[in-house]
């Protein structure tokens, strides 16, 4: 600041106004504010007093200096009014609550949740419902006809043994696959049809990080007069995109199931390594590059014969997938036993 300016009248006014703003901001009661007002902008106020000394300013600068001082007076008056409004309002609310802590947790009601398997099933349901499939169900205790014979699994097939099935007294068994519901749906409906059937199935496997003896599958079936493997691909590719995202890469690979022929497996390209990992171990897919998501195929003509559909007239496709596997992939669960332990600390993480 130059000497000339520091000695100038409006320089002095600016300094005065600056200090005044601070005093006003600090003022906490109406009484002090009133005396502050009179000492600044009252008739004898310090700012007003400056105007009386305007004559010391050289004549050509005088109008500008006067205007500047008046502007500062105005600003101080505005600040005084604002502070006054604020103090009046706070006086009405009473003293501030110093006990209030906005960071304490809110109160909540008990929170419920659906099981992970239910969440996944609901997603799958929604997709197949959009694709025009009806949900059907069937009994968990089944006879050999629905679990094996009608599905083209011959009487001497190893899949029928007690090491692969839970038999109950009376010769029936806990269904080992949801494919039983294909048969039940076809027995009770006439083609064309589109159904899907979620359900729990049972196999006496030792429980470990990847196996349960009771787990869930979703079965699906579409039958009509001109349903081909192309329809299968279209339908299940749509499912994969709805379930896993529009950018997923899928492939259909030949496989074998007794109740379908042409049989296939639908693989999803590993999002971790994009199908490249053959030598280095990809942590997502374990190095295979692709992950199986479901088995599918064209309904075997023998299955149609067993339910009284004419295989010369009707064709169809069927598919089945494991629900727990989907859940494990979705949430990167490393142990399927989480899904049966019902540990509240686990259950409460999913909504």
């Amino acid at each position: 600041m130059s000497e000339a300016e520091s000695g100038s009248l409006h320089g002095e006014a600016r300094a005065l106004a600056g200090r005044a703003q601070d005093d006003i901001e600090r003022c906490s009661d109406l009484e002090t504010l009133a005396s502050l007002r009179s000492s600044l902008v009252g008739k004898q106020g310090s700012l007003k007093a400056l105007l009386k000394r305007i004559s010391i300013v050289p004549a050509p600068d005088r109008p500008a200096a006067g205007a500047e001082i008046n502007r500062l007076v105005k600003a101080v008056e505005v600040a005084l009014d604002a502070r006054r409004t604020h103090l009046v309002a706070s006086a009405a609310e009473g003293p501030p609550d110093v006990t209030f802590d906005p960071t304490l947790p809110g109160t909540r009601r008990h929170e419920g949740s659906l099981h992970v398997v239910t969440l996944v099933l609901d997603e799958i349901r929604a997709i197949f419902t959009r694709l025009g499939f009806d949900e059907v169900s069937g009994p968990e205790i089944e006879d050999a006809w629905h679990n094996f014979d009608a599905l083209n699994i011959p009487a001497d097939h190893p899949a029928r043994t007690t090491s692969d099935n839970f038999y109950v007294e009376g010769g029936r068994l806990l269904r080992s696959q949801t494919s039983t519901m294909q048969i039940r749906a076809m027995e009770s409906r006439k083609p064309p049809l589109r159904v899907f059937a979620p359900g729990r199935v049972y196999r006496p496997d030792a429980v470990d990080a990847r196996h349960l003896y009771a787990f869930h599958q979703v079965e699906g079936l579409m039958v009509g007069e001109d349903v081909t493997f192309a329809d299968l691909k279209a339908c299940l590719t749509t499912f994969a995109k709805s379930m896993y995202g529009d950018d997923v890469v899928t492939r259909f690979r030949p496989s074998y199931f007794p109740f379908t022929e042409v049989s296939a497996e639908l693989d999803l390209q590993c999002p971790g390594c994009h199908g490249r990992a053959t030598t280095s171990r990809c942590p997502v897919c374990g190095g295979e590059g692709w992950m199986e998501i479901l088995g599918c195929g064209m309904v075997h003509p023998n299955v149609f014969r067993h339910v009284g559909y004419d295989p010369e007239r009707y064709t169809g496709f069927a598919f089945g997938m494991g629900v727990e596997r989907v859940a494990m992939r979705r949430w990167k669960l490393d142990d399927v036993r989480y899904l049966i332990e019902n540990d509240v600390r686990f259950l409460s993480q999913f909504r």
């Binding site: 025009g132 968990e140 109950v168 003896y213 192309a230 332990e341 019902n342």
Partner: protein, 670 residues
């Protein structure tokens, strides 16, 4: 199945890398999850589907990939020189279990280490080299799929081998296991005793050893089911039993024997090979030579046109024989090769064509006609029930359906016997549950042990009730919960469910429920006259059985019935236009008078003017007197068409007091 690339190259030229070969195998149906470098060789881990036992050998894999890699298969043709007549007699008495059996003598072997090439190939595929004789039998098995067994001739007693059912004989297997074999087991015997468990494992007594000079080589076919049963019964599985259980190509039984004989001559110093001896003719392949394939059927199933000429090229490359001199455009007739027992009908041929043209050729963008999924009231109701439980703050569980005998076998809904599991995994899981409560209590206990003492859990799942006669067993879906708290906490959940199902106004709660609920602190839930479930606290003994403290309340509802009775449609009532008048009173009654009785009296006395009535305080003490309680209640009174006057409200309260004293025998608390 571990397949060595070098080994494979003995039968087919492989113009690509092991990785590419793995890709090709994967895309014709046999995934190769890993390709491993073993020295200069590569080993492919090929997953073989159960319909293709022909791929359990290198020859089979060579035949399968020859087409896709554009090569052709060349198999060795074993040529044996002439030797003097020399044979070992063998007789099959159990022809149902052994359709074909051959034996031949090979003399003068020097048992010792195998040549390097043989050791290298066997070890690459994970087969430990034992000695040159055993290695040759293993090599031929992994080459063509036919298991072979070599006996030490000097250790066989008597003039012949008999293949028969065992009769409680004892024997010691090669691996040292002592066995008692019975009627279901097929055994190879000499004059005195079993020397092999047919198709599974040889006997220790007749094992080829360093001193062996002459051997008897067995090449045979055994009944798959018998081998499987025996292997399972004696918990003794082998590479041989694995193949006998599945499939043996009858065209290669003699071939394998000849092949091994040539190798015994080449690699084991043998100097004489006897002729193949059998008392049975080679089993005929009862396989159709005329499986028809209509070209149009391929399109009908696969969804793309495949020309007849392409079909012919594909099937021929897989070893199928075209049985039409001049193929017509619309259909062809085929004979399957001896190693393809899985191909018997047209659809099997269609699958061969489909997987060979590649699924990528089938379009994935065809249009599927729009079809609305049907509206399913039952499923909507079940979802409403489930969501009500979540809204009530309960977490869904999923438990296994098995319980053991004893306290975990609870039956609330109907006390009929539990269904027994014939082959439970554990004895404490030998029954199918009749209630979801046992498993839920186990879950509650588990959570408490993990430091979560208070739980609110539910499950919706079927239970199983044994019927009076076969096939009349019943499955019922229940909705059950376990809640840490008091009766009211659990009842609140049930009320929320019933409200969500549109059934609250028809529900009643009568004192008492079956064990293990406490009779005096439980209720039976009814819709109209029908029992639909129970709520209650667990009795002290049940609490102790589950290791839980008091303050555990349960409910179990028959979800199936609730779903059937549900009224999901909301019936709208206009919002009241006039204010309600609130009136409180406290009524002292005997402990035995339930709220339900008081509520009914209030309702009866107020009629349509009653908007709501609920208890807000219960007092027991000096002012109520012993055995009595004071129930403070609040009534909301409202008329639909006007503001109620004080006089009208007072009259209403007077009628309530009158009704209460008539029906409950109580008095107003002043």
């Amino acid at each position: 199945m571990r397949i060595s690339l070098d080994w494979l190259k003995r039968y087919v030229d492989v113009p690509c890398s092991a990785q590419e070969l793995g890709q090709k195998l994967t895309m014709v149906g046999f995934p190769v999850p890993s390709v491993e470098a073993v020295g200069d060789d590569f080993v492919l881990d090929v997953e073989v589907t159960s319909n293709r036992p022909d791929l359990l050998c290198h020859k089979g894999v060579a035949q399968e990939i020859a087409g896709p890699i554009g090569a052709s298969v060349r198999l060795p043709e074993p040529q044996l020189p002439e030797f003097p007549q020399d044979y070992f007699d063998c007789r099959v008495t159990a022809k149902d279990l052994c359709p074909y059996y051959t034996a031949r003598i090979i003399r003068g072997v020097n048992v010792g280490p195998s040549p390097a090439w043989l050791v290298r190939l066997l070890e690459a595929v994970g087969q430990r080299s034992i000695n040159n004789v055993v290695d040759v039998t293993n090599f031929v098995m992994l080459e063509c799929g036919q298991p072979l067994h070599a006996f030490d001739l000097a250790k066989l007693h008597g003039p012949n081998i008999v293949v028969r059912r065992a009769e409680g004989d004892s024997m010691t297997a090669l691996d040292g296991t002592k066995l008692i074999v019975g009627r279901d087991d097929l055994v190879i015997c000499d004059a005195e005793r079993p020397v092999a468990l047919a198709g599974v494992m040889g006997g220790l007594d007749s094992e080829v050893s360093a001193s062996t000079r002459d051997i008897v080589l067995e090449s045979a076919i055994f009944a798959p089911l018998a081998i499987r049963a025996t292997a399972r019964a004696h918990q003794m599985k082998s590479e041989a039993s694995f193949r006998f259980e599945r499939f043996i190509d009858s065209n290669f039984v003699n071939w394998a024997s000849d092949r091994a004989a040539t190798l015994f001559l080449e690699a084991c110093g043998a100097n004489s090979v006897g002729a193949i001896y059998t008392d049975l003719g080679t089993p005929l392949q009862r396989r159709s030579n005329a499986i028809s394939l209509r070209t149009e059927q391929v399109r009908r199933v696969v969804g793309v046109e495949v020309a007849t000429s392409e079909i012919i090229a594909i099937l021929k490359s897989l070893g199928f024989r075209l049985n039409t001199d001049e193929p017509i455009a619309s259909a062809t007739w085929w004979g399957a090769p001896s190693w393809r027992p899985d191909v018997t009908s047209e659809i099997d041929l269609i699958e061969e064509v489909a997987r060979r043209i590649g699924f990528d050729r089938v379009p994935a963008d065809v249009r599927i006609p729009v079809r609305p999924a049907v509206k399913d009231e039952r499923r909507l109701a079940l979802r409403r029930l489930r969501d009500a439980l979540v809204h009530a703050g309960l977490r869904e569980c999923m438990t296994a359906p098995f319980v053991g005998e004893g306290p975990s076998d609870i039956a609330l809904v109907r006390d009929v016997p539990a269904l027994r599991v014939e082959n439970p995994m554990r004895s404490e899981e030998s029954l199918l549950r009749r209630s979801l409560l046992g498993p839920l209590l186990v879950v509650a206990r588990g959570n408490r042990d993990r430091g979560v003492p208070a739980v609110r859990l539910f499950e919706i799942a079927p239970v199983y009730l044994r019927g009076d006669k076969a096939g009349s067993d019943e499955e019922r879906t229940l909705a059950s919960g376990v809640v840490t708290g008091n009766y009211a906490d659990a009842k609140g959940c049930v009320e929320q469910i019933l409200e969500a199902m549109g059934l609250a106004d028809r529900a009643t709660f009568d004192l008492g429920a079956p064990a293990p609920l406490r009779r005096d602190r439980s209720a039976t839930v009814k819709i109209g006259a029908e029992v639909v479930g129970f709520i209650g606290e667990l009795g002290p003994r049940a609490l102790a059985n589950y290791g839980l403290e008091s303050g555990t309340v349960l409910f179990e509802l028959c979800a199936d019935r609730l779903v059937e009775m549900a009224r999901l449609e909301t019936r709208y009532r206009p919002v009241p236009r006039f204010p309600a008048v609130g009136r409180d009173l406290a009524w002292i009654v005997d402990e035995s008078v339930s709220w339900r009785v008081i509520e009914d009296a209030v309702r009866g006395a107020t009629g349509e003017l009653l908007a709501d009535v609920r208890p807000f305080d219960l007092y027991r003490g000096a002012q109520a007197g012993p055995g009595r309680k004071s129930v403070a209640l609040r009534m909301e009174l409202r008329a639909p068409d006007r503001t109620l006057t004080t006089a009208e409200a007072d009259a209403c309260v007077a009628r309530v007091l009158d009704a209460l004293s008539r029906t409950t025998g109580g008095r107003l608390r002043s």
